[in-house]
Amino acid sequence: MKMKLLGTAILSSAMAFGAAGMAQADDFPTKPVTMVIGWGAGGSTDIQGRVLADILSEELGQPVNVVNQPGAGGGVALARLANSRDEGYTFVFGTSMTITFGPLSSETTYELDDFRYVAGVTLGQSAIVTGEDRPFGDSWEELVEYARENPGMSYATQTALDRMIIEYIAQQEGLELRIVPTSGGAGMAPLILSGDVDFAYSGGTHSGYAETGEMPVLLSLAEDRLVAFPDAPTLPEAGYDINAAEIRVAMVPKNTPDAHVERLAEALEAATQDPRFIEITEERILMPVTYIAEDEVTQTLRDQVEGYQALIEELGGLPGEE
């Protein structure tokens, strides 16, 4: 009985002490953290995010629970995050296209300035690809030449962004293309492999064909040349002033206290050096791991939005809008 009382006393004083400590120094996080993923379970963001969450919970000393909020290409999760008053206890792990191009291509209840971008942790590897043994080979220059002489070449698009980029390129080069929609790498791959379509956008599927050479890359849509296809030029190298680089980034609402953002950023930086995170990212989903700090990633995203706005203006509106 006495022991029990003593135990209770120690426990309650410890709790009181803990509470006081929180009020003064703010040892974020003092309770479980939620990582929201804007895609369904089983997708590449989800696979990567779950490993990241495990590592973050070790770094932060609190459980990091993963919640999927799929819909609108990650947009549903961001719309909810924009209204969150959770001071960093809830953050979204997602792709930059949702926040850069999303608000431009569709009506959204959020925009770039509603969030802070804690850090970027992975670079996308999207590209414009083609198939084997095409009459124009596997170089972008030859394709453009061939397309000028043969109007009606076909291109398979997956996102509003790559569609806008290809229409801009077509305008610049004076090409007449047939642009067919398709969904995801699983929809694009058979079109390219069977030869029904001449060239296509690919988010990352081509990385899986790097060894067999069945899906050569014509253009890298990342900031640098692709790791697995170093011969393909980037957009600026090919003469187009566009930065469409995809970054996987952790986002919190604008009003999150600096101390919380810093603590999350530290944990994310540590995660980018963790072999488990590197393995799942570089070997399973085939994207390079990099740590990009808040200032830099925010500036990149802002530049991208301005670039896209200029592009839309030059095209006289979004493609598909009559």
């Binding site: 819909g71 067919v180 699983a186 079109l191 069977s194 379509v197 598909g320």
Partner: protein, 506 residues
């Protein structure tokens, strides 16, 4: 193509103890679901999909296939002991199973049913393996033209074959098509029928739709029936030696089993017909070709064998169009497409190319599931006989809880709950007014594929329909579709006219 060593290693993967444990779990759960009259295969798969989120893609699919196979075998138990089929498709098993059990031979009846189930399932699985791969390698060469034509043909065929009136079939399919077009237009990005909900931009989420229309609605129907008829007597199993199945008796049913397996596999491979049709067709044929047709319906073991072999053969055979072409021909196949999608794999001929090891491991997993089915059914006979008496007032609330929990797991929040209830009400009326469920679900699943391929075909051809002349396969299917629609429309009109003549004649 894949080499022999790869096939062997995929078999090894399926025989790994973890994989066996997962398949066993699926078969066991399926068996229980099959035994309980109120629960059917579609309900079980719909609520099991969320359970598989944290499994690997292979484990998830193997689990679900084990589950659907288990239900087909388990449903014989309640058909025989309760005279209430655990699955609608076991209705034919009741015809001879229940009289035989009432005559004091319940154990014999159960064992005949089990062995016929296992043989039918195993043979049809082997057929699937033999046929799906050559099928898929041909289908790999199909482009948007062929796929669009085949998908349209499959839809019309299912609407016509799924039973009931062709018009109701078309209506059910139409509803599926409309729901399938919700979301962003694949070409222009315009939002269609989303009513401002961002959640609908990528289409109606499949899980709330499936759980609502299949599982939750079924529970409403069950509640409805439970109010009306309570209590049915269960036949108890004896320890009598005379009530055991001898090898000689089993051998006597084998010819029926083989014939019925053939019928079941044929019916299964055609999209839309389903296991009930297969079971009744096989039963009818067994009766007609028997020396003593009068003994059928009074406890002839051949009647049980025919119904069960065909019922179980339909399931693996219905995966032939699924793995070969990516077209789901049955409700459970349509649900598997959803499960594959959730795990990021597009089912169809491309699997053979991109994930051959996965395909072979699945096939070997299916064989393992057949054998486990035998073991589970044989040794669990007495336990499952007891499960038949689990009362609906326990089953129904548990299933409703699992439905709602499944939606929450996927993270749809309040939106998911509202959607699931809306679809439950929709599904309830679909069932009450006898609209074809397969047609609705398959149309919903297939529409985005169809739309995409059709649009690709139109854009690639530059809108020139003459391109079909260079695409003989696509052309053939367009012609088949037209003939099929004409035939179904004409026979529907004749039936309607006969009915009217009769009505005015009286």
């Amino acid at each position: 193509m894949i080499g022999f060593d790869a096939i062997l290693s995929s078999f090894a993967a399926a025989l790994h103890y973890e994989s066996i444990a997962i398949i066993l779990g699926g078969v066991l759960l399926g068996y229980i679901v099959g035994v309980i009259p109120g629960l059917n295969r579609a309900v079980a798969i719909a609520i099991a999909i969320p359970l598989t989120f944290y499994m690997s893609a292979y484990a998830a699919i193997a689990f679900l296939i084990g589950l659907s196979k288990g239900t087909a075998a388990g449903s014989a138990v309640s058909a025989i002991l309760l005279n209430a089929p655990g699955e609608p498709s076991s209705a034919a098993t009741c015809l001879d199973g229940f009289p035989m059990a009432r005559a004091g031979k319940p154990r014999k009846a159960l064992k005949v049913g089990l062995l016929a189930s296992v043989v039918g399932d195993l043979l049809a699985t082997l057929l699937l393996i033999a046929v799906a791969i050559p099928f898929a390698s041909v289908a790999l060469k199909f482009g948007p033209y062929e796929l669009a034509a085949i998908l349209i043909f499959a839809l019309v065929f299912i609407a016509g074959m799924a039973g009931g009136s062709f018009l109701k079939g078309l209506a059910a399919g139409g509803m599926g098509v409309i729901l399938g077009t919700v979301g962003l237009d694949p070409e222009t990005g315009a939002a269609r029928l989303t009513f401002g909900y961002a959640e609908l931009m990528e289409g109606v989420p499949i899980l709330p739709l499936v759980i609502g229309t299949l599982a939750l609605a079924e529970m409403f129907v069950q509640l409805d029936e439970y109010r009306r008829n309570k209590g049915a007597s269960v036949i108890k199993l004896s320890h009598d030696k005379a009530d055991d199945l001898s090898f000689k008796e089993f051998k006597a049913t084998l010819p029926t089993v083989f014939k019925s397996t053939g019928i079941g596999a044929f019916v299964g491979a055609l999209p839309g017909l389903g296991p009930s049709v297969g079971a009744f067709m096989a039963y009818g044929l067994a009766k007609r070709s028997a020396k003593d047709p009068d003994s059928f319906g009074k406890g002839n073991p051949n009647g049980i064998a025919a119904a069960e072999a065909a019922d179980n053969a339909v399931i693996p055979a219905s995966y032939i169009p699924l793995f070969g072409l990516g077209i789901p021909g049955s409700v459970s196949a349509a649900l598997l497409v959803g499960a594959f999608m959730i795990h990021g794999i597009q089912v169809g001929p491309l699997m053979l190319r991109d994930h051959p090891e996965m395909l072979f491991t699945l096939f070997s997993g299916m064989i393992v599931a057949s054998l486990l089915m035998l073991a589970v059914g044989w040794y669990g006979l007495r336990i499952f006989a007891k499960v038949t008496s689990v009362p609906p007032h326990i089953v129904i609330p548990v299933v409703i809880f699992l439905c709602l929990a499944g939606i929450q797991v996927q993270g749809y929040g309040t939106f998911g709950l509202v959607t699931v209830f809306a679809f439950a009400i929709f599904g309830y009326f679909l069932k009450k007014f006898d609209y074809s469920f397969v047609t609705f679900l398959v149309a919903f699943i297939v529409t985005p594929m169809l739309e995409m391929n059709l649009r690709q075909a139109v854009i690639l051809s530059g809108g020139d329909i003459a391109i079909l002349l260079n695409r003989p396969i696509a052309l053939a299917f367009v012609v088949f579709t037209a003939l099929m629609a004409l035939h179904l429309g004409w026979s529907g009109y004749r039936q309607w006219r006969q009915k009217r003549l009769k009505a005015s004649g009286n």
